[in-house]
């Protein structure tokens, strides 16, 4: 059979065009801007104008200035904590969902995902009012007699950012964990029972390891979203809650130093790509098919 010979020329041109577009669109709209950004990180600013001479100055400044590396490191730790707390809270919730029958399972899942449909800024305001000095959290703690007087522990500092990011990002952790739990064939759990395992043994030896891919993608999701966020730290972080995202934001705003901002973004992008790669590596199921 002479395959290509039978396809009309017009059709072949058309399919060629589609192929070119499929490759061109991501290149033009994703890779080219990223490349331009990377280029900018080698420029510098002199009295408000960008100097288009290549230099490693921005990177040297990032690594040598005592301000940036500690904030960079603290932000990574903060976001790892957010990811860890999200996983610890989301796993039991997702597990509970999978124990529900049919309709209830998806109804409750939708309910947990509803916050994703709300405006990000409004959610931050709402959480800020919960965490604030006269907020719900303080009133509850005082009312229960746990605190003598309202505490400033939860507002305008790193704790506030941690709590707010955790609350905002939990839905992103629940979904992949739920999906990976749901994909585990029930017959494997029955087989484990049948071989004499207790409920806890079945969970630890079968359910948990088989859901780890979901946990890995949940963790990398949350981490990536948290580390790229500058709005939340800006709104609930106050002066002490200074994150890398805020520094980055200020370079493009008040400081008006795009080249340096671009260099900082490159540093952040390296971390994000690393997180995604790690998530992908562990997110792959070992020998999926049964």
């Amino acid at each position: 059979m002479s395959g290509t010979g039978t396809i009309p020329l017009a059709e072949r041109r058309w399919s060629l065009l589609v192929t070119v577009l499929a490759f061109a669109l991501p290149v033009v709209f994703v890779l080219v801007p990223l490349a331009i950004f990377l280029g900018y990180s080698f420029f510098s600013v002199d009295q408000g104008t960008i100097v288009h001479t290549l230099s490693l100055g921005n990177y040297v400044r990032f690594f040598t200035d005592p301000i940036f590396l500690p904030v960079f490191w603290n932000t990574i730790v903060l976001c790892l904590s957010v990811a860890a707390i999200c996983i610890l809270l989301a796993y039991p919730a997702a597990y509970f969902l999978t124990t529900l029958k049919g309709r209830w399972r998806y109804a409750l899942l939708m309910l947990l995902l509803v916050p994703l449909l709300m405006s990000y800024v409004i959610k931050i305001y709402a959480i800020r009012s919960i965490l604030g000095l006269n907020g719900f959290l303080n009133k509850a703690l005082v009312g229960l007699g746990i605190l003598q007087e309202p505490s400033t522990l939860f507002v305008f500092n790193m704790n506030a950012i941690l709590l707010t990011l955790t609350l905002l990002l939990i839905p992103f952790a629940i979904l992949p964990i739920f999906l990976s739990l749901e994909r585990i064939p029930q017959v494997l759990l029955r087989a484990s029972d049948d071989l004499g395992a207790s409920g806890l043994q079945t969970f630890l030896r079968i359910t948990l390891p088989l859901s780890l891919p979901g946990v890995a993608s949940a963790a990398s999701f949350v981490f990536v979203l948290a580390i790229g966020d500058f709005l939340t730290p800006q709104m609930v972080g106050g002066i002490s809650g200074f994150t890398f995202g805020r520094i980055l934001y200020s370079q493009f705003g008040t400081a008006y130093n795009w080249p340096f901002g671009a260099a900082l973004s490159v540093a952040l992008a390296v971390v994000v790509i690393a997180a995604i790669l790690v998530g992908e590596r562990f997110g792959r199921n070992r020998g999926t098919a049964i």
Partner: protein, 367 residues
């Protein structure tokens, strides 16, 4: 192991899903060390029997006794039974040895002993070289054998097999049948094997339990089921058969006559007292196997009738003739199976022939 003692007894066991009954008052005894096959079409309740015994589902009523002890409410992980699941249900994140050793390791058996017994079990199922592979890296037949090794390593009193060969191709299925049977003989453990494939059942079982619509229709050796089916369902379901409807006639010793569209036929009622006592004129079927039917010769004085060959089908070792018989050589279809010959059969489609079967090769079933 004594083949005559009962290992497991089901007493008037019923099971319903909601209001839908799937098992009605099942009584079944499984003998220690036997290979018992539960055979039935889909929806007959055969898998439910296995699931109830394994503890995968609770009974609706009745009881299951192991060595005389009621175990109906014993949780699944305490029952000394292991299951080979239909799709093997191997743990995809564990290696072959991890899978096989699972039952021992959850019982906190020392590592060294697990390693030794895993090696033994894998040797038994001829998978010694595959210890470090993951299930996804194995073929269907190999997974099957891992599942078997995993089930037998805990030395269960009973191994439950849920259509374990269904996913394999024909050649592999035949090999696995022989393999399962030889392993069962070697380890002398009781096997309860569920299948819808009667050829599989005949080939492996010591006894077969035929189920239909939630009832046990007959329990017996393959030979008994083949030559003395006790009802129309078993007669039709178990192997190819010719059934001719009629009314029972007189008893002459171990034979009884039946009036049919093919005339008066005489069939054996040996060891089947219910056929001896059945009233004259009762509706029944004369049943005779395709291989019992042959071209009549001078010796055939009974059970002679004529028919027309509608079709000849060559099936390798045998050739099957489809014959129409009865009034005007219509209305009654029969099959005749004869050994194939290299120079072909002398029978041709459309020919009218005289047929017969020996009275002791025919049997009766009540309608």
């Amino acid at each position: 192991m004594n083949q005559n003692t009962d290992l497991l007894t089901l007493r008037s066991v019923s099971k319903s899903y909601g209001t839908v009954p799937v098992l009605h008052d099942i009584d079944l005894s499984i003998k220690d060390g036997e290979f018992l096959t539960v055979l039935g079409p889909s929806g007959s309740g055969k898998t439910t029997v296995l699931r109830l015994i394994g503890g995968l589902e609770p009974l609706t009523s009745g009881e299951i006794r192991l060595d005389g002890q009621d175990i109906s409410r014993m949780p699944i992980n305490r029952r000394p039974f292991n299951t080979v699941f239909q799709d093997y249900a191997l743990f995809p994140h564990l290696t072959v040895s991890g899978n096989v050793g699972y039952g021992l390791s959850v019982r906190h058996v020392p590592r060294k002993e697990i390693a030794r017994r895993v090696a033994e079990a894998l040797e038994l199922v001829q998978l010694g070289r595959f210890t470090d592979r993951f299930p996804a890296q194995l073929s269907g037949g190999q997974r099957q054998r891992v599942a078997l090794a995993r089930a037998l390593i805990c030395q269960p009193r009973l191994i439950l097999l849920d259509e374990p060969l269904a996913a394999l191709d024909l050649e592999l299925r035949r090999q696995m049948q022989e393999f399962l049977k030889s392993i069962q003989r070697e380890i002398k453990t009781t096997f309860l094997f569920v299948t819808h494939d009667q050829e599989e059942a005949i080939g492996m079982a010591d006894r077969i339990c035929v189920m239909q619509a939630g009832h046990i229709r007959q329990l017996g050796t393959p030979h008994e089921l083949y030559y003395k089916p006790n009802c129309e369902f078993v007669a039709r379901f178990f192997g190819e058969n010719n059934l001719v409807a009629g009314k029972l006639g007189s008893v002459q010793g171990e034979l009884r006559s039946i009036e049919t569209a093919l005339g008066r036929l005489v069939c054996s009622i040996r060891d089947q007292p219910h056929l001896k006592t059945a009233t004259d004129g009762a509706s029944a079927f004369a049943a005779f196997r395709p291989e019992a039917l042959h071209l009549a010769d001078a010796k055939d004085t009974e059970n002679r009738f004529s028919g027309t060959i509608a079709d000849m089908a060559f099936a390798g070792s045998s050739t099957v003739a489809t014959i129409t018989a009865g009034a005007d050589h219509a209305g009654q279809r029969l099959r005749l199976r004869m050994p194939s010959r290299v120079d072909g059969s002398t029978l041709k489609s459309g020919a009218t022939i005289s047929l017969a079967f020996a009275p002791h090769e025919g049997h009766l079933v009540l309608a």
